[in-house]
């Protein structure tokens, strides 16, 4: 039973890469991945255990669910509580705790919250149930935003009167700037997200090398991909270079996907967005453009969520910045587990804490 993926899981290739990493990475460095799929791949395949002592692999704010701030989750919950509203969203958002509740808790309480697998499915619900107002909760980075943008345009084309989108979408590059500027973090290299880069290409990351001298490598998601990304970063550091390189040639070209970017820009405009643990980063949010106001849930379902609160002791914010490792949080594995999560990093299938809890022994004695 072989598959196209087997080459990227070939133990021999992996072993050669691991040897090369050990030979190259002679100086201590902190490499951060900023994609939840990388977080999971590293944990699932036990790649941390294959690294030399000089390399620390950190997980950054790469899980769109995790970086969604409490006030935004509270707003989604408040919208779901409005009479006649169906809130449709991807499954990952269901269990994320807001200040007082979660969408799965609201569903158990009888609110009409539904999981969809594509934003277009929410249009179908709106057509089938004209007496309801369907709100699609859009969360994600440049990977998912174009699909939601096209869904907004499709809703306009169909002239759907009972559908709107709550966009909590965010863009990645400026968040990396915030991390590089953070004196507590001190990243020496970035493992850049393959999927996001498929859309935006390499140019938006160039400032990392140009302005800050931080090397970065756009990396795929198979174990061999990740090892290759780490090896290329090690080489850049050893040779004193700082460039944006692509280790994921089968998925990314330098230009990105201009059609997807155009679709995103046609529906959304940049706004300031709050990132959990980092705070407000200018221009990293995506709000619906004014011409699509009738499809903007913030306009169509006006409501005021309760005053937000942060959970005492939850260190998700520090975990998302790579300042605290998941198992150093006092709640990890004790008050906060995947069954009873306190913070989003333990909830999301791509959260750092969930990855550590699921695939390692830490904090479970």
């Amino acid at each position: 039973m072989s598959s196209v993926l087997d080459g990227f899981r070939d133990p021999e290739v992996a072993k050669r890469l691991v040897d090369a990493i050990h030979a190259t990475a002679t100086v201590p460095c902190k490499l951060m991945e900023v994609c939840g799929t990388h977080t999971m791949a590293i944990a699932k395949h036990g790649l941390r255990g294959l690294m030399p002592e000089t390399i620390t692999l950190l997980s950054g704010p790469g899980c769109p669910v995790c970086v969604t701030a409490n006030p935004d989750i509270d707003l989604a919950i408040e919208i779901a509580r409005q009479p006649g509203v169906v809130l449709a969203t991807f499954g990952d958002m269901m269990k994320v705790p807001g200040s007082y509740s979660s969408l799965s808790g609201e569903k158990a309480d009888g609110r009409d919250v539904r999981i969809v697998y594509s934003p277009l499915d929410s249009l179908t619900i709106a057509e089938k149930e004209p007496d309801k107002h369907v709100v699609f909760l859009g969360v994600g980075f440049e990977t998912t935003a174009p699909t939601v943008a096209l869904t907004i345009r499709e809703a306009a084309r169909r002239e759907l009167p009972n559908w709107s989108a709550l966009s909590l979408h965010k863009t990645v590059p400026e968040a990396l700037r915030a991390l590089v500027n953070d004196p507590e973090v001190q990243i020496t290299g970035f493992i850049l997200p393959g999927h996001v880069s498929t859309i935006i290409g390499t140019e938006p990351y160039e400032f990392l090398a140009r302005e800050y001298g931080v090397p970065s490598v756009i990396t795929g998601f198979e174990p061999v991909d990740v090892l290759q990304g780490v090896w290329m970063l090690s080489k850049q550091l050893a040779e004193g270079r700082a460039e944006v390189e692509i280790a994921y040639g089968r998925g990314v070209d330098a230009e990105g996907n201009p059609t997807a970017v155009a679709a995103m820009e046609a529906a959304f405009e940049p706004v300031d967005a709050e990132w959990r643990g980092i705070g407000v980063i200018p221009g990293t949010g995506l709000a619906l453009r004014p011409e699509f106001a009738q499809y903007d849930a913030r306009v169509r379902v006006p409501c005021t969520p309760p005053e937000p609160r942060e959970i005492k002791g939850c260190q998700c914010g520090d975990v998302l910045r790579g300042v605290t490792l998941p198992f150093d949080c006092k709640l990890f594995g004790k008050g906060c587990t995947p069954e009873h999560p306190i913070g989003p990093c333990m909830v999301s299938s791509e959260g750092s804490c969930a990855a550590y809890y699921r695939y390692t022994d830490y904090g479970k004695e």
């Binding site: 899981r9 036990g46 499954g91 799965s104 695939y359």
Partner: protein, 336 residues
């Protein structure tokens, strides 16, 4: 129990379901047979020992590639009874029908149940029907209970695994879960994957005949192989290590898991059996499994060690080791 309401995740076969069963049901009912927490209860009975098991089926959609809720309801209970080493004999069926369900659909399900029972050699001997108002059910829910006879002196249990034992798996992982999810509204993707729902009583009997000291059988349904092995490791106070490279997975199942962000170890199966056997009987048990119906792709997937108690490890293709944890909540497709 920390949750104050029942959530969907309480029915997913993972840690939350375990918590619900142990802290609510078992704590209240407290019977010594129930406390063993095996898939079928072994009961003393005048002149014989019985195995008794029940299960309820609420699958959606009702029909999926290779099977339907009816075949599932018979095979699932047959397999639960078989895990005790018993020969399944009699089945009861209880239907909760939703007002408005097409009779033609129900008929298809009934025929499918009859065929599965015939294949498994069990008789459907009693039943019950209730109808609920439209909107209060997913077409049909089915409860089945099964009774079988246990051979004298046989005492299989998930708490009997010992260091040095070998773990066998009767075939590929994840086929049922992916077949069902591939037909779910809004997620349909094209695949040739069919459910593996099948009665495994003949396979169990064959392994028992070849390896009389077998410790236990388990069918890794909801929560998948991960939940099954974690339950065994906890019940026996041992650790289990699985070799990732030796676990058979169909390419299309693997591809679908990659796409959806699922862990194949946590995806449901309905026609697979896990057996834990002493090392000196492993070869005979494997041979018998391979020769039995639905066991052609059987393999040795791992070994049992002293400890740490309750831990299940996966040795990855690169020689790294990670934990194989129980499913928590439900597997939900990822968003990026």
């Amino acid at each position: 129990m920390r949750a104050d309401r029942i959530l969907l995740a309480h029915g997913s076969g993972g840690t939350m379901m375990k918590e619900l069963i142990e802290e609510l049901f078992v704590a209240e009912f407290g019977d010594e047979v129930l406390l063993r927490m095996d898939d079928a209860a072994s009961l003393p009975f005048p002149g014989a020992r019985l195995a008794f098991s029940t299960d309820t089926y609420v699958v959606h959609p009702l029909f999926f590639p290779g099977g339907d809720i009816g075949r599932l309801a018979i095979c699932g209970t047959v397999n639960d009874v078989a895990t005790s080493g018993a020969t399944p004999l009699y089945i009861s069926v209880g239907f909760v029908l939703e007002e408005g369900m097409p009779v033609e659909e129900l008929k298809r399900i009934i025929v499918s149940m009859h065929d599965a029972a015939a294949e498994a050699g069990v008789r459907i001997v009693t039943g019950d029907t209730k109808v609920v108002e439209r909107g209060h059910g997913d077409g049909v829910y089915i409860n089945t209970a099964g009774v079988g006879v246990l051979p004298d002196g046989l005492d299989l249990s998930g708490s009997h695994c010992k260091a040095g034992d070998v773990v066998l798996l009767s075939g590929t992982l994840g086929d049922h879960g992916i077949a069902v999810i591939s037909t779910r509204e809004g997620l349909s993707f094209s695949t040739d994957i069919r459910t593996d729902a099948a009665p495994l009583s003949a396979l169990v009997a064959a392994v028992l005949a070849a390896a009389p000291d077998v410790r236990c059988f388990r069918d890794p349904t909801r929560g998948g192989l991960a939940s099954t092995l974690n339950e065994l490791a906890s019940a026996s106070g041992v650790s289990i290590t699985v070799e990732e490279l030796s676990v058979p997975v169909n390419d299309q199942v693997r591809g679908a898991c990659e796409m959806l962000g699922y862990d194949v170890f946590q995806v449901a199966n309905e026609g697979k059996m896990v057996a834990v056997v002493p090392a000196d009987e492993a070869e005979a048990a494997l041979g018998a499994m391979k020769a039995a119906p639905y066991g052609a792709e059987a393999v040795v997937i791992g070994t049992v060690a002293e400890g740490p108690a309750g831990k299940v490890y996966v040795r990855t293709a690169f020689g790294a080791t990670r934990i194989m944890d129980m499913l928590v909540g439900e597997q939900l497709p990822r968003i990026c």
